[in-house]
């Protein structure tokens, strides 16, 4: 999923997949910024893909 916007106060991000609706994602486990691509599982980002590559 790609990060659209960050809510730093709540530790959440608005994210969008390549196809499908946007959703709110927990980002407490990764450093994320708008435009980043995240691997998301059960509503939580586990990896920022550019960072792991």
């Amino acid at each position: 999923m790609r990060v659209v916007a960050i809510d730093e106060a709540r530790g959440l991000a608005l994210c969008e997949p390549d196809d499908g609706p946007r959703s709110t994602i927990e980002i407490g486990l990764v450093e994320a910024a708008p435009g980043d691509r995240l691997l998301v599982h059960a509503g939580t980002a586990l990896v920022r893909l550019e960072a792991a590559a």
Partner: protein
């Protein structure tokens, strides 16, 4: 689609299949276990096994959370779901898993308020929106899903959401693998390691497999080329006489895993002494429960449930 299309290239897939064919010894039969249910899904979805030589056999491992949850735990969930005032939430793939007398979907049909959620955060939102109801999240999954539950429980605790609780069925991947490897009847030549679990725990925890049992492990991604390449890497290790953990999924899996995830899991969970696995029986220290600091959010303490072991059919 980046990170996906390049790993579904049919021409490259046929090329790797040719390298696999070149790597096998004629007259030798190879058995490779894909640990994760996600790999099993991809193997069948893309016909990966059709590209393999006849003497390379894929064996399905224990890494499917809904497949291994025992009937007694499903019965406990259904009993809680039927209690007055409860909104019972779970992932969609849990709804049709049979207990001894039906499924959560059956319970819903009988009047229980059972709702599918995509994440534990959705369940917590339901709790905030329904302060006069008790919202229970039925947590399942390996280390991939456990951090999501842990973070949600931390949120619930810090926000003081008192009508939210969790039935924790999270399991860990290493104990069942060790139990399988201890089986005297088992003959496996190597393992395709679970890529998404490894995003959390890293590749390091799988080192016991080559070290203690002399089998190679390749942590792999979930696209067809990932799986084919992992099989080729295992066969290469066997051909070279090497035995180690390799990481095919480096674009996602750091060797050390996600340290923040491991930290939050250590805070919220502790190991259960024993846990039953459907089809495998009891395995020591193979599952998680809420730690004392989070006992107030433990649905197993808040609600009465049968807690009875039900034998596999």
């Amino acid at each position: 689609m980046r990170y996906v299309d390049e790993y579904r290239d049919a021409e490259l897939g046929r090329a790797v299949a040719g390298e696999i064919l070149a790597a096998v010894e004629s007259g030798r039969h190879y058995k490779v276990m894909e640990v994760c249910g996600g790999h099993t899904h991809s193997i069948y979805k893309y016909g990966v096994d059709d590209l393999l030589p006849d003497n390379v056999e894929l064996v399905h491992g224990p890494g499917c959370p809904v497949c291994v949850i025992p009937m007694g735990r499903v019965d406990d969930g259904i009993a809680i779901a039927h209690q007055p005032g409860v909104i019972f939430t779970c992932f969609g793939d849990m709804l049709r898993v049979p207990g001894s007398d039906g499924t959560l979907l059956d319970a819903k049909a009988q009047g229980a308020d059972v709702r599918m959620v995509y994440s534990p955060l959705d369940a917590l939102r339901l709790a905030r929106e329904n302060p006069d109801r008790e919202v229970v999240f039925f947590a399942i999954g390996f280390e991939t899903t456990a951090p999501s539950t842990a973070l949600t429980l931390k949120r619930a605790k810090s926000e003081g959401v008192r009508n939210f609780s969790c039935v924790c069925n999270h399991v860990t991947i290493v104990p069942p693998l060790r139990a399988l490897l201890e089986s005297p009847d088992l003959r496996l030549d190597g393992f395709i390691g679970p890529g998404h679990v490894a995003t959390v725990v890293g590749a390091r925890p799988f080192q016991f497999i080559p070290a203690d049992y002399g089998r190679p492990v390749v942590v792999a991604g979930f696209e067809p080329l990932d799986i084919l390449q992992a099989i080729h890497m295992i066969l290469a290790q066997l051909g070279d006489g090497r035995c180690e953990v390799e990481n095919q999924y480096k674009r996602v899996v750091p060797w050390e895993g996600n340290l923040k995830a491991l930290e939050v899991m250590a805070e919220v969970f502790e190991l259960r002494p024993h846990f039953e696995w459907r089809g495998l029986g009891f395995i020591s220290q193979s599952a998680l429960r809420l730690s004392d600091a989070y006992a107030g959010l433990d649905a197993e303490q808040r609600f009465s449930a049968p807690g009875v072991r039900v034998a596999d059919p």
